[in-house]
Amino acid sequence: MILTVEKINTFYGDSHILFDVDMSVAEGEVVSLLGRNGAGKTTTLRSIMGLTPPREGCIRWLGEEVQRLKPHEIARKGLGFVPEDRRIFSRLSVEENLEIGAFKLERASGWTLERIYGLFPKLEQLKAHKGNQLSGGEQQMLAIARALMGTPKLVLLDEPSEGLAPAIVKDVGEMIGTLQDEGIAVLLVEQNTRFACRLSDRVYIIDNGRVRFGGTVAELEADEELKSRYLAV
Amino acid sequence: MEGMASGKKLLTRLAERLTGRFGVTALLILAVLAPFLVQSDYYIQLCTEILIASLLAISLNFLIGYTGLVSLGHAVYLGVGAYAFALLTKNVYPSMWAGLIVAGASCALLAWFMGIFCVRLAGLYFAMLTLAFSQVVYTVAYYWRDVTGGDDGMLGIPKPEIGIPGAFSISLESFTNFYYFVLIIVATLIFLSWKIANSPFGRVLQAIRENPERVEFIGLPVHRYKLYAFIIAGTLGGFAGGLYSTFQGYISPDLLYWTQSGEIVLMTILGGMYSFLGPAFGAGLLLYIRDTVLNFMEYWRIVVGSILVLLVLFLPGGILGFFEGWISRLSIGGDHGDARS
């Protein structure tokens, strides 16, 4: 396991959001975190990233405890973050957005602009565009590419399909496939269960801040009760 | 740990006393006795100035502490009130009451006018607009020599006697008489302010400070309530300006400069903006520090500035607020806080 989350409890101010959340991600694995609105999925990612540090519990990254570190320290250890609503730097060009993603590195290592452009030719065409001139799908692509520029071993991906047309959602799915081909693990937060299950090796279900299920996609598919209780209409 | 806990309890009780009815009564008795206690014209003058500054700081706190609007232009009322008083009593009609009423009324009008524009903004923009307005008035006062005397200011502002014509009159030329006159006016106005602060209206202002959106969603037009608060603060500030004018007998455009506004904010914060009497306490403290430091060196701002920096970093609730901080419930409605458990 490259990432293990052990019994974390996270608060916003006085509101207790996460209760003893446990989960793990192995090298090169795609793991999905499913659940409804407000279940605590985004908070889990923010806790891992150090943006909303857990008050209790432990987060291990490559064996080292990181729950006390600042977000930029955690990022530098090889965690990529693609937040909900993408958070592209709107005044910066596409290329500048990518460069910011690589800022933390002592050059040379890993990903370069050329490699990114090879993988996402669309971004090369758009490289001079400002962030606020991109469509939702292009923003999503840029956000993922920006995270790649930091040469991550694991990318935290928050609702990449949200607000995108079905055809674009498919593209996003392919991008996640690309990450996997590159040996990068993905922790995917989704509401679109079908989309997530298609891509994932394992699945966690979180509800009211607690992990209710952890297992393979097949196990989830087999359990209708579980699906209807936490996911279905 | 044990010792700290009991120390905390002691401080809590002290703060409760200081801000409660007991504290107010004690303060009032102290204020009445002050001229006998200090026994020197110089200190009677200082006490008078502190009273006026207290009114000024409390008036500003209607905006900062109660409504959550940081005004950087409150000196405009000090100045306009002072000029209004001076112009009326010097050039038109030498009456203390008329002077004060004109000072208050002119500031009410000014606040109403400025408020229409200012209350639409919030945060930094509100601060900048109030600052800009006050600087406009400063510029007018500075350059309109024919009326204001420009940067020479105005000299010889009278202290008209009060009383009933034909029946009796009291001269205010004596420092002690003047002190008591100011005390009565200021105490009355502060009492009125206190009534307002603890009325349903006052609680709405606090609610606006806490969450303007929610106030809108309980059916109250937030802009209008902010405007009322703005006018109340301005009017009270105008009275303070009128009093200051007759107290000093001399005024200059410096009263309107932004650094003067900064000093009023400083008083408010120094004492604690979340307690009703905190700003008055801050006013007293600031003037006392200035006076004390000036006795042995010119550079009192270094001292006050350093205190401010330390305060912001370590005691953001202000000094009185710090004591009240132990009992956070008290810090809201003055000594009348409902939230006491």
Binding site: H72, R91, F103 | L121, G123, M128, V136, Y143, R301, V312
Partner: protein, 293 residues
């Protein structure tokens, strides 16, 4: 008639020279607002510090020290700004804006009196550096060379600033931090360092403004609190966070002051407020508010 032309030209150039100084101060102020969200009341004090430091280096030593001072004094002030930011402002970012405002006001009070304590109350003058002494004459018209130098320096520094913001890594980080500093942090950038750098850059610019202005004006303890007001107005007109706005705003204010004096003698400042009040009321984000740096 001919006399009139040279008079108006002089006014125009004076306005421009003042505008350039104002631009230096306002540009720092506006970037600070855009990136850190801090309204730095002590910014004028940095300007004042610059002026006094150059006074000491060029008067106590000799006039040619102006250039040495020009190089080092802004670095000293920037270092000072770094300390203020790192130790005093940083803990306040999570809290209400009021506190950063108060803190910088506290430093204004301290620095003003500190300058008074060290240099005394009297007005000082800094000699024009030898290189730019004298006046340039074309026919009837003559104008001090130093002022022309200032007019040239303004746009140069504007370009320099543009270069920093748009062509360097630091600039990229500044612009990114202005949009979303949390995201920047999550991408592995130590945002605190960016903030400190921005604050130091602002202090550097302000003190440079003070140094360049020193030979044109009298150097006195109250100069900081005066310039800060005009700089605010520039920032409001131009839009918080926009350094292009700061440039346009500065030129506008410079011109209004230079020509307003002719129209309404002492009320030039009224023109400025007549401009700034409606902007604040109708378009609080300023003329260039949308296009942050």
């Amino acid at each position: 008639m001919e006399l009139d032309v040279s008079f108006w030209l002089t006014q125009f150039l004076n306005g421009l020279a003042n505008a350039m100084v104002l631009f230096l101060i306002a540009s720092g102020l506006t970037i600070l607002l855009g990136v850190l969200g801090v309204l730095n009341l002590a910014h004028g004090s940095f300007y004042m510090l610059g002026a006094f430091l150059i006074f000491s280096s060029s008067v106590i030593k000799n006039p040619s020290w102006f250039w040495v001072g020009l190089l080092f004094a802004p670095l000293v002030v920037a270092g000072f700004g770094t300390i203020i930011e790192a130790f005093c402002l940083r803990p306040l970012y999570g809290r209400e804006r009021l506190y950063t405002l108060l803190l910088t006001y506290g430093f204004t009070l301290i620095l003003d009196d500190l300058v008074l304590l060290i240099w005394g109350r009297d007005y000082k003058s800094v000699p024009i550096p030898a290189l730019f002494e004298g006046r340039i004459s074309i026919g009837d018209f003559s104008y001090p060379v130093y002022f022309l130098f200032i007019i040239a320096v303004g746009p140069l520094l504007g370009v320099f600033l543009w270069f920093i913001l748009h062509r360097t890594n630091f600039g990229k980080l500044i612009r990114a931090a202005a949009t979303d500093s949390e995201m920047l942090d999550a991408l592995g950038v130590n945002v605190n360092r960016v903030f400190t750098g921005v604050f130091a850059l602002g202090a550097w610019l302000a003190s440079l403004g003070g140094i360049l202005a020193a030979p044109m004006r009298s150097v006195e303890p109250g100069m900081g609190v005066e310039i800060i007001i005009e700089s605010f107005i520039v920032v409001i007109i131009g839009g918080m966070g926009s350094y292009l706005g700061a440039f346009v705003g500065a030129v506008l204010i410079g011109m209004l002051k230079a020509f307003g004096i002719e129209i309404l003698e002492n009320f030039a400042m009224i023109f400025i407020y007549a401009l700034v009040l409606p902007i604040l009321i109708l378009r609080p984000r300023g003329l260039f508010g949308e296009t942050t740096i």
